[in-house]
Symmetry: C2
Subunit: 301 residues, 2 copies
Amino acid sequence: MKLDILGCYAATPRSLTNPTSQVLTMQNQMFLIDCGEGTQVQLRKNKIKFGKIEHIFISHLHGDHFYGLIGLISTFMLLNREKELHVYGPKGIKEVILLQLKLSKAWTPYPLYFHELTSTQPEKIYENEKLSVETIPLKHRVYTNGFLFKEKQGDRKLLVEEARKYKIDVALFKSLKKGKDVISEEGKLIKNELVTESGDAPKSYAFCSDTVFSEEIIPQLSNIDVLYHESTFLQEQLKLTDPTKHSTAMQAATIAKQANVKQLILGHYSTRYPDIKLFKIEAEQVFPNVLLAEDGKTLEF
Amino acid sequence: MKLDILGCYAATPRSLTNPTSQVLTMQNQMFLIDCGEGTQVQLRKNKIKFGKIEHIFISHLHGDHFYGLIGLISTFMLLNREKELHVYGPKGIKEVILLQLKLSKAWTPYPLYFHELTSTQPEKIYENEKLSVETIPLKHRVYTNGFLFKEKQGDRKLLVEEARKYKIDVALFKSLKKGKDVISEEGKLIKNELVTESGDAPKSYAFCSDTVFSEEIIPQLSNIDVLYHESTFLQEQLKLTDPTKHSTAMQAATIAKQANVKQLILGHYSTRYPDIKLFKIEAEQVFPNVLLAEDGKTLEF
């Protein structure tokens, strides 16, 4: 599991900082999460093979999270993309993208699907053999969702030497990996656990931005591996969190602690702070495993 | 007259090149012409006091000329702009900007006026005491206008020593600058030309992008000072100009020559060419005074 941070600052793009966008690579699939202005340039600068992206998740329709989407969709057009592209985001996203294409008399040569979200309850919005994605309803000034990516339990690991010892035909190895018991060449029933061990633990990643501090999301985040939680402010500016519906670093850490996640990543910093290290220091007062998102940083888990 | 090139490449923004946008400073007013994705970052990188911009001119609704507009309008909002902002562009521009503001439940705290263009004839769209702006109808795949900025003839220059010699009261100096004859303290009629000389010649700048080669624009460009004319291609790719409705460097130079302009600036280069010097070499075969636009370059005239 790999996370490429393309942008992790709040509000307006500046010379050296970018609004929210990140690429999650899970089970060899690339997922783009949010797409602020300049995302396509950040994808290029970070040498990400962005033609491989098939699913884009947009948390909410504030500009710093989606103004780069129409540009990326247009660039896929210029690059003669043929592969399907799926966009998941709040109701309205389809209208605004299609209006812009219409005004430029353009259409995508590739199938472009919109999955508009309106539910205020968690819902599974994507699933394949290896992973699933569900929404995490957040509390912000406009309708907003976080996204929870969960790998499924993979195959069991075959202990080849053991399997040979029990004289199991190679043709049955696939069944063993799927956890089934098999019959050996000698006609004996071989219990699966004798010749396999459990596979890698499935990983999970939650993206929660933008949101005011809300304990309601904790059950959904319980025991996940990695949580990206916005921390627009430090506690010093706590009074700004309610009117703006944003969180502090300490509040993000509180969610991480109560949900018992393994790793917290902070981001969506207000550009008022010259030194983002302060976010880490503040969060670590509550929760030990804190990483700071930084534009251009790749995190592997 | 000063021109800051923020971006001058066709199609998609890349790590080192930006789509079309430029700031013309004329008579101490700043005009933004086109606004591709990333324009607001380019404004910051080039240290342009962009809060001073009051008029934005959008040539057409292809993404590389206007996808940065909503971001800039939003940033003006975050910066608590109070000053009026006027946007001139093809019909549809108002709908797409207002839809995006509506979806983010935002409104501008400053008055935002849209001047939607539909005419296929040149029309004066802005005028004040010192200059005027008119459209230059262009031929592209969608409805497109260039823009012609013309200074008005300024005041005459007062020859102070001469005026004193003729015993003209200081209170009449303003009338002299306006070209009027005056009566001296001795009661004599003093002809204006005796105590003034003509002021600076008014300057003119035309922005023509995007367009196929079209001699119809030549009369309007006749004898202007500076012409920015798109040159997406070199003559080698001449066959691409008709389907895409773009021009070559040589065609841009032909327009410049036939219109007898003083200076040609080339831009809107296709990103297929690794070396833009070839555009200058090609254009100079037809017209001598050629400058190459480059992102981040400031040109003074």
